[in-house]
Symmetry: C2
Subunit: 364 residues, 2 copies
């Protein structure tokens, strides 16, 4: 586990000096103190992550990891597994929601085949990092070997570090994989101890009967495999997915390189939970983009101590919520770095702060 151990060791606490400097500047900008709410906190967090009180987020990247899941054979999804590869082609032809939303926020999309159960082939824009042709069916045995799980994590690290050559200021996480809400529920149940029914949702729309079946399959997978919650790699191997392992590695590598991570929805949340279980120090590098419709996502975010930026009832994955979240983080940082100060703009500060709570009123 040397690459992963080495990556974990490189994850340092946030830079308190940059945080203090960013906070100080927030008080000088032409707005009442605190009036930009969460935008001020976000900008300060990014300053601490990047170790720069005046950071820039111009180079934005969404990583969409794709893989198949053996458990799809149990009928937990309304779509056939073939759709994973079909959607990868759609990503590469820029026809999917993530392509549109990433373009909207000025982010590039890096598509990674880490375990699609089809030969997607050499494609422009595709990163080939296949660990296996999908996982095995976790309802009857481990989804992958321990060594494959480690390979998936390492692939995530390698993908991030290779892409750094093109420049990265902030990343978003994304996923594609038929049946991967099933896998994510299993991971979240295993790592948090929550009952399966409390972390299992309708994916993107199965009915109540199929949901019951999905819960039973996840319970069976946990009973058959007995993943050890104190050993995140064991959880990933037994009930995980290759794209989830890849995303967990990506998150670790981003934190090691002081890059803010905007975490998409439930699948990305499960990956973040794995990364956090392996390395609790990643927590301050994480920004939860949105609250997914999936009930397990709430449990995941609570466990991670994260509050989502958006609540738009998204349940698509791919990194779609992360793309929107990246734009809000960038907006926050631009306010910090581009707004005029009271002195520059010759605007009066509330000198007579009689008994204000530190935040004088001027508008709003």
């Amino acid at each position: 586990m040397s690459i992963i151990e080495e990556t974990i060791k490189r994850v340092r606490p946030l830079d308190e000096e940059a945080i203090a400097a960013a906070r100080g500047r927030q008080e000088e900008l032409t707005k009442p103190s605190g009036s930009l709410g969460r935008l001020e906190h976000l900008a300060t967090q990014v300053a601490g992550i990047m170790g720069n009180p005046l950071p820039s987020l111009s180079r934005k990247v969404v990583f969409t990891f794709a893989a198949d899941h053996g458990v799809a054979a149990e009928g937990v999804s309304a779509y056939p597994s073939e759709v994973t590869a079909q959607m990868v082609y759609n990503f590469l032809r820029r026809g999917a929601a993530i392509n549109v939303l990433a373009a909207h926020v000025g982010a590039r999309v890096v598509v990674v085949d880490i375990g699609v159960a089809a030969d997607v082939g050499e494609q422009p824009g595709l990163v080939r990092a296949k660990v296996a042709d999908g996982t095995r069916n976790m309802a009857v045995g481990p989804a992958m070997t321990r060594s494959q799980a480690l390979e998936a994590l390492e692939a995530g690290v390698a993908v991030l570090e290779a892409e750094m050559g093109n420049g990265i200021d902030i990343i978003g996480t994304g996923d594609m994989g038929i049946a991967n809400t099933t896998t994510s529920s299993a991971i979240v149940a295993a790592l948090t101890g929550a009952p399966v029914h409390a972390v299992t949702g309708r994916g993107t729309g199965i009915g109540p009967q199929q949901l019951l079946h999905k819960v039973q399959i996840i319970e069976r997978a946990l009973a058959v495999n007995q993943p050890d919650p104190r050993d995140p790699l064991d959880v990933l191997a037994k009930v995980g997915g290759l794209e989830i392992g890849g995303l967990a590695g990506l998150i670790l590598a981003a934190a090691a390189n002081r890059i803010p991570v905007v975490v998409d929805g439930f699948i990305s949340g499960a990956a973040a939970l794995l990364a956090w279980a392996l390395c609790p120090a990643v927590q301050p590098y994480l920004i939860a983009a949105h609250q997914s419709v999936e009930i397990g996502h709430q449990v995941t975010l609570r466990h991670l101590g994260l509050t989502p930026l958006l609540d738009l009832s998204l349940r698509l994955g791919e990194g779609t919520g992360a793309a929107l979240g990246i734009s809000i983080v960038e907006a926050a940082v631009r306010c910090l770095t581009e707004m005029a100060t009271f002195a520059e703009a010759q605007v009066a500060q509330a000198s007579e702060r009689r008994e204000t709570s530190g935040a004088p009123e001027h508008a709003g």
Copy 2:
């Protein structure tokens, strides 16, 4: 009241054919049905507003109306009135939060002096539409005459229609005016019947003693002036603000011209409430950008039947939340118009929708 009456008459219901066509297309796009959540509803709403199933929102404008308030003399704000004019200069020099956020989302900012109590002068980028040098102190008598209130509404209509020459696909509303949360609370209390304390907040940061004083001033203004809730123009004249009247006129004109209106926070919300009281048909043209920290904003949005897109604890005004909201609406519309369909992308649909709730799972 002829210009306003004529504008109100032009506000038509949304285009049901465009809505149906947009909804139909949503089902063909390469994503599980409904998986883009509120983004799908937003895009459909915009299609209905614009009467176009494939709308484009490339020309985005935030209107920031500035004016002063006589009630500032009562010490309801920690800032002196001079800051209104100083911030107008800051807007024109692009140093304020609204300039940064509008630039971030690709919107232009139109700054309107509708009642600043200082001669801002001829300035590049400033629309001069001054009705008066600020309002009078509503705690001792009407803030303005009925004819001034009407002029403010008409100025808002004129500003929108003049700017249409430069092209407008969507607008955001914004405000600047020391003491304008006080005015907005008075309007919301008058129009909704809510008690003053339930709609009055700490603005952008006054302490508990000053808040008590603010509530008393608003109660006195309502007692002295007795605004008639069945006559929105009377409410505007007696306890309103010139920028709030201007924004209400702007909103009416936008709806009359089938332009979606992204409403900022509490002050813009009070303006939207006035526009709605004058013309209930504006409601479907409105999109609430965010939930402000001000408690009166919740009452306002509930009254208008609007659910905010964002909840970032903003309390700045200027149109800052509206700018962020515009970007989300544009993202929604771009998904509708730019994503590939299942047929185009050769992606399998969930044909075997056994007992799905209409929304098959593929990712997330």
